[in-house]
């Protein structure tokens, strides 16, 4: 069964200029602000801005949050474990890029 769509979809390119507010990031991650606070406190992401209402998250932060949520959901790791895994994964990526 094939459902064909001919329309050309234009998405938002998540480049380095994109920023998400707290409301945007909650919506994108489908979690509540409380969960974002916990992840900020754990050091998983470090938004720009001092007050939560002024927080701005970049696309790298969105990816880290989403990966942390996937790791929690799929592997049962806690926040601290997810934070550690994310840091190690980034280090591994950087090393792989140097080898490429």
């Amino acid at each position: 069964m094939t459902n064909k769509t001919a329309v050309a979809w234009t998405g938002v390119v998540l480049d380095e200029t994109v920023r998400f507010s707290l409301v945007d990031i909650c919506e994108a991650c489908r979690i509540d602000a409380e969960s974002i606070f916990e992840m900020v406190n754990e050091g998983i992401v470090d938004p720009e801005g001092s007050e939560p209402m002024n927080w701005r998250f970049n696309t790298a932060a969105l990816r880290r949050l989403q990966t942390a949520l996937h790791l929690q959901r799929d592997l049962g790791v806690n926040l601290a474990g997810a934070a550690l895994a994310l840091d190690l994964l980034e280090e591994l990526d950087a090393l792989r890029r140097r080898l490429a």
Partner: protein
């Protein structure tokens, strides 16, 4: 459809204990988790594994599966027996977590209908609308496509709910606009193009991650394009002008006199477009002409007399 040997997928024997199965799952889930693994088929393996575990972790489903699995081989043709009726009941067993979207037709044919009710139960009762799942996929484009931009056709397996309430995979073809100068690893977010919501809940988002297909001679690092350029010794020594391919077409590059092998030259703004655009980094590779004829040999000999040189002097030899 094909019969799936869930024990084989999980690498456990048919008499494995529930504890063995849980351990095998944890281990393989870490290995093939798409956010962690660099294996090319990680996503597929992870889904297959989740499906196998969904069945084997639940003693009721496992027992039902065991009844049909006896004597069957992984990959053989399979149709559910006519008397197959896996009734969940709402008391025990049931779907105890995970993400049932994207399971195989084989799974759907055995447990599909029950999954739906079970799935809802796990979220704290029948509470009305629920948002759809986000979907993540990689798209592979050429460097030329990244340079020029354009539309790219993407085929995705989208789990949908059919008239019988089963989750089935439908192939959906999307034509996605690729902006000029997109970089490897960047994602395109298409709001509302992910999995469908339940009971009128909002659809999930679709994330497409850009991957570059390997190119014959260009290599991208961010917006910069690197190229190894073969040159002759006289082009390098005399600082001649050579023609260099770039993604935007041929350009002329004047080599600095006495250029050396491995020397890097920057063609400003000739990388991927952007603000600012990337550069093209040209690394010179000096190719030694073959001394194929007596005349060529004589010329090399003459060079050694006119330009004696010890490139190993710094090694003290």
């Amino acid at each position: 459809m094909e019969f799936k040997d869930y024990y084989k997928i999980m690498g456990v024997s048919r008499d494995a204990s529930q504890e063995d199965i849980r351990r095998a799952y944890r281990k393989l889930a870490r290995k093939y988790h798409p956010d962690v693994s660099k294996e090319r088929n990680a996503e597929e393996r992870f889904k297959e594994l989740g499906e196998a575990y969904e069945v084997l972790k639940d003693p009721e489903k496992r027992a039902a599966y065991d009844r049909i699995a006896t004597g069957r081989q992984h990959g053989e043709r399979f149709t559910p027996p006519p008397d197959w009726a896996f009734d969940f009941g709402f008391g025990g067993g049931g779907f105890t977590g995970g993400d049932a979207t994207g399971f195989s037709d084989f799974f759907d044919s055995l447990f599909g209908r029950a999954t739906r009710g079970g799935r809802r139960e796990t979220r704290g009762g029948w509470s009305g609308p629920a948002p759809g799942q986000d979907q993540h996929a990689n798209i592979y484009i050429s460097l030329e496509e990244a340079f020029a931009g354009g539309a790219q056709t993407v085929a995705l397996a989208i789990p949908e709910i059919d008239a019988q309430g089963r989750i089935v995979n439908k192939t959906r073809t999307l034509n996605v606009k690729i902006p000029r100068g997109i970089k490897e690893g960047q994602r395109i977010r298409l709001s509302g193009q992910g999995g469908r919501g339940w009971m009128g809940g909002a659809a999930g988002d679709l994330y497409l991650e850009i991957r570059f297909k390997p190119h014959r001679y260009f290599h991208a690092e961010g917006a910069d394009i690197s190229l190894e350029l073969p040159v002759t010794p006289w082009e390098a020594a005399l600082g001649q002008t050579v023609t260099v391919p770039t993604l935007g077409g041929k350009v002329e590059l004047k080599l600095p006199p006495n250029s050396q092998n491995g020397q890097k030259l920057r063609l400003k703004g000739r990388g991927l477009p952007g603000n600012p655009p990337g550069d093209q980094i040209v690394t010179l590779r000096i190719v030694t002409p073959e001394a194929a004829t007596a005349e060529a040999k004589a010329l090399y000999k003459k060079m050694s007399e006119i330009m004696p040189m010890n490139p190993r002097a710094h090694m003290g030899v």
